[in-house]
């Protein structure tokens, strides 16, 4: 692959949510995202994986600045957005669009598809109604729908078709970055692969960069160039897809990979089954966040949090004492 410049650079972002637990009890907070750093090169797909509640969606919302990070910096195409005001942010948002998990909820049920897909154009351009209609029709064709679908409402479509509409809307401004937050997890397995293929084709055609968020490693394997594994708000391992899948370093990644079903009932393999639940992010464990469930736990893990460092192979980072 040709070395290209980084489109997204995330440096040590932190986000905590306060929880109000009543009048008399003390204020607590959830560390949803804790010192997460990564960068995404132009034209690349970076996937964030982890179980629910690990902060991957929050990270996506921080990158699109739907949420404001408490600490850390985010550059998109060279512009630092973590403290940017709304007016300037609007310009950046032309280049960053989102695809949401729930294709039923992310399209306004009261609007015709034409207006749904054209909304980014209305916000950011001064095109005439005819020009908008033409672009919408073109975009619907690009995502595999037909131009006559523009006159319909969202409830008249199936889940897969709605997600195509969501993708058309995200693409209509020709953005550079698409943040896709679990774009296929609400869909049928048979539809999932269609949408993933569509996303891949579109990436080539429009030279898109993806931040892809998913809990499903088999989905991620299909689409990513690089993968970041999150656990309790922290990045525990990141690196090129091949390395993560062939040579996972972190025990949590190993456990995740061993949970991916293999479509062969006779296949034998070692399953790593984690004991216990994910600790509460309100009260995270000391030292390494994973030590309460780690099968290879050592004494040092309980006291000292491991830093993310480069493993033996290049570009492969892991936060583990092992």
């Amino acid at each position: 692959m040709v070395m290209s410049k980084s489109l997204v650079v995330v440096d040590g972002i932190k986000k905590t949510f306060p929880i109000d637990s009543g009048l008399l009890s003390s204020k607590k907070s959830v560390k949803a995202v804790n010192h997460v750093s990564f960068d995404i090169k132009e034209g690349e797909t970076f996937s964030l994986v982890g179980e629910s509640g690990c902060g991957k969606s929050t990270t996506g919302r921080l990158v699109t600045r739907l949420l404001m990070p408490d600490e850390g910096k985010i550059w998109i195409n060279g512009e630092e957005i973590s403290k940017m005001n709304e007016t300037k942010l609007r310009e950046v948002r032309k280049q960053v669009q989102m695809v949401f998990q729930d294709p039923y909820a992310s399209l306004n049920p009261r609007m015709k598809i034409r207006d749904v897909v054209a909304e980014p154009l209305l916000i950011h351009t001064k095109l005439s109604a005819q020009e908008r209609d033409r672009i919408v029709a073109e975009m619907l064709e690009v995502v595999g729908l037909s131009s006559y679908h523009a006159e319909k409402f969202a409830h008249e479509f199936s889940g897969g078709q709605r997600q195509r509409i969501g993708i058309a809307r995200a693409l209509i401004l020709k953005p550079k970055l698409i943040v896709a937050d679990e774009p296929v997890s609400a869909l049928d397995v048979s539809i999932q692969s269609q949408i993933l293929n569509l996303l891949k084709d579109l990436q080539e055609e429009f030279h898109l960069t993806y931040l892809f968020i998913s809990h499903d490693l088999s989905v991620v394997e299909h689409i990513s160039d690089k993968i970041g594994v999150m656990y309790l708000g922290s990045l525990v391992e990141s690196g090129p897809k091949e390395m993560i899948f062939a040579n996972p370093r972190h025990p949590y990644t190993k456990a995740l990979l061993s949970s991916v079903p293999i479509p062969d009932p006779r296949a034998k393999r070692e399953r790593i089954i984690l004991q216990g639940d994910v600790p509460s992010p309100v009260n995270p464990p000391s030292g390494c966040l994973f030590h309460t469930r780690c099968p290879f736990v050592m004494d040092i893990c309980k006291s000292t949090p491991p830093a993310l460092r480069e493993a033996a192979d290049r570009d492969h980072f892991v936060a583990c004492h092992l």
Binding site: T64, L66, N108, E119, I123, E141, V142, Q161, S190
Partner: protein, 296 residues
């Protein structure tokens, strides 16, 4: 541009065009009581519009030969103490009652909705200010508040409209604020924000439409309340002038003859009762159709 050729979605796609209006009409016909109450209201509107031409007698002209007549073939609803035909006065009064209540609730709804949207969407100190002000307004009994306002502004129908509108505002504001808070969390609102939509666009295009149906329901319910309030103010001598055929004023004038000629009071009373009932029934019916929380 290359077209991605594959749409093998297995799910069945409903293609028939179901317009919202037609669906509404289908459900509305099933609401038997509200359906007929709606007809009655339509009938009242016709009377309100054409009242002066329908009325068999002049509602203002006294005729001292026929004072306090009981209902007869000549005067279907009898006459009052000045010999004016009560039916004619009720007919002409319909316009006053509907006009006062509609305009006051409309003002209350518009102002209340704007306040509610601001309060719910922006939150923070604006929310606190608007909601605390509403709490203060709620602390007064509705009618007492209206009386206080009319007492300050002086009697007259315009001031009744103002008074009834003012006590409608906080109810609308609170209702719309609640809907706004719910709508604000919708994913399509988040989607609009991620596209870079301005607050004004999000409020008018995405949030306001979500609040309309409960506003319509509350509007129709509120009409009944405001007819009662306006009549009460007129009854107390704070609203319509005593000689005007306002239903509340008629009640007020007739109460001296309650023992001897009860029809002078009963007939405007029935008019108020039926109108308020009809609006409340329509409101109930609309709520059943439009409010997704009370499905079936």
């Amino acid at each position: 541009m290359e077209v991605v050729k594959e749409i093998g979605h297995s799910a069945v796609v409903p293609t028939e065009k179901k317009s919202r209006a037609r669906e509404f009409w289908k459900k509305w016909k099933k609401q038997k009581t509200a359906f007929w109450a709606g007809f009655f209201i339509l009938f009242l509107f016709v009377i309100a519009l054409f009242g002066p031409w329908i009325a068999p007698y002049d509602p203002y002209e006294p005729n001292y030969d026929v004072t306090l007549q009981t209902p007869s073939m000549e005067y279907w609803a009898g006459t009052d103490e000045y010999g004016r035909d009560i039916l004619s006065r009720i007919i002409v009064g319909t316009g006053i009652s509907l006009g006062v209540s509609f305009s006051s609730v409309l003002v209350g709804a518009v102002v209340g909705t704007i306040l509610g949207l601001i309060s719910g969407y922006y939150g923070g100190w604006m929310d606190r200010l608007i909601m605390r002000w509403s709490d203060v307004m709620f602390a007064f009994p509705d009618l007492l508040l209206a009386i206080a306002i009319v007492a300050i502004l002086g009697p007259g129908l315009t001031n009744v409209v103002v008074a009834v509108a003012v006590f409608s505002i906080p109810s609308f504001a609170r209702l719309i604020r609640g809907n706004t808070l719910a709508a604000k969390e919708a994913v399509f609102v988040e989607a609009a924000r991620s596209m870079g939509a301005k607050s004004s666009r999000i409020i008018f295009r995405h949030i306001f439409p979500e609040t309309v149906s409960s506003m319509i329901v509350f509007f129709s319910m509120r009409i009944g309340t405001s007819i009662l309030a306006a009549s009460s103010l007129s009854f107390l001598g704070l609203g319509a002038a005593p000689e005007s055929p306002d239903w509340g004023a008629m009640l007020s004038m007739g109460r001296d003859y309650l023992a001897t000629s009860p029809h002078v009071v009963i007939i405007p009373g029935i008019a108020i009762f039926l109108t308020v009932l009809a609006f409340n029934l329509v409101g109930d019916g609309l709520r059943d159709i439009l409010d997704p929380k009370t499905k079936n």
